[in-house]
């Protein structure tokens, strides 16, 4: 299943929503990110992955959206997992201290391995 969402497509892997973030996240598209995160939270009952492996730049507006999603997920008993590919995105996570708050992984496979719901049902 693939739900198009203004630059932030949400794909279901097993029963885990995965938000595919674009190359650049800034004030011009952070609202789209926020909308996609809300949609993913709804589809995944609070737990989902944000795949930022393609993302080369993320400003504080994007970080703000991720923090809001993380807080919301914790309230709902779920969790947000990040996939971080580039050093630049890792840098802003580190500066803001978010790297110690939100679980993050170098690949989508490693993130999904933490979520039993992502595994296909045994045939």
């Amino acid at each position: 299943m693939r739900v198009p969402e203004a630059g932030f497509p949400v794909e279901m892997i097993g029963s885990v929503p995965v938000v595919a973030a674009p190359e650049d996240i800034d004030i011009t598209n952070a609202v789209g990110l926020r909308t996609a995160l809300l949609q993913a939270a709804s589809l995944g009952h609070g737990t989902f992955v944000v795949d930022m492996s393609r993302t080369q730049f993320c400003d504080t507006a994007g970080i703000h959206a991720l923090v809001a999603a993380h807080k919301r997920a914790r309230t709902e008993g779920g969790q947000v997992l990040l996939v971080i590919g580039g050093a630049t995105v890792m840098r802003i996570l580190s500066i803001t201290g978010l790297d110690r708050v939100i679980p993050h992984f170098p690949s989508l496979d490693q993130a999904l391995a933490r979520l039993p719901a992502a595994r296909p049902d045994p045939a």
């Binding site: 004030i27 011009t28 400003d59 504080t60 507006a61 050093a87 840098r91 802003i92 803001t96 201290g97």
Partner: protein, 173 residues
């Protein structure tokens, strides 16, 4: 100096004896990506490492984003390589947005967080604001010039108004 929309900003750099910047461009919400590309190119050309150039890009972007979001909706960036440092100046026609206190070590998850990041990463930061707008200047030490970044731009140019913040950021060793 003409300004997008026909306004005139205080501070004519030629009259004040300040050399021409290596990069000067107007920006708005539609050209922030071009601004980031230009800043990265000049930061690398000035001798900064790729990682440090990434910091410069983030800092200048956050200042420009503040201008777009909380100021006039547009602004102008100038970059100089001077006195052992890379100086980046962002001007807009709006009021300054209050930053979190300098003593706050953790990132404040609220409006003003962009300026917190700016202060955290820049070696020097100065914000001037007045009735005509806001002028933020940041400086980054170049390799071989540790701790020498000074806001020389604060002198010799038409000031917009009172000094709101002069903050010394971390010094790269």
């Amino acid at each position: 100096m003409s300004w997008p929309g026909g306004e005139t900003m205080a501070g004519d750099y030629q009259d004040d004896g300040i050399p021409a910047p290596v990069l000067e461009l107007a920006f708005d919400s539609g050209t922030l990506d071009a601004l980031r590309t230009g800043v990265r190119t000049h930061a690398c050309a000035a001798g900064l490492s790729e990682d440090r150039a990434g910091d410069v890009v983030l800092v200048v972007h956050e200042l420009a984003a503040n201008a777009v979001r909380h100021g006039a909706g547009r602004g102008r960036l100038r970059v100089w390589k001077r006195a052992g440092a890379l100086h980046c100046q962002v001007e807009d026609g709006g009021p300054v947005v209050a930053a979190a206190p300098a003593t706050v070590d953790s990132w404040p998850d609220r409006p003003g967080h962009g300026l917190w990041v700016v202060r955290k990463l820049a070696d020097r930061m100065r914000i001037l604001s007045g009735v005509r707008g806001t002028r933020a200047t940041v400086a980054f030490n170049l390799p071989g010039h540790p701790g020498t970044a000074v806001c020389w731009l604060a002198h010799g140019q038409g000031l917009l108004g009172r000094v709101d913040a002069v903050v010394k950021g971390q010094v790269q060793q």
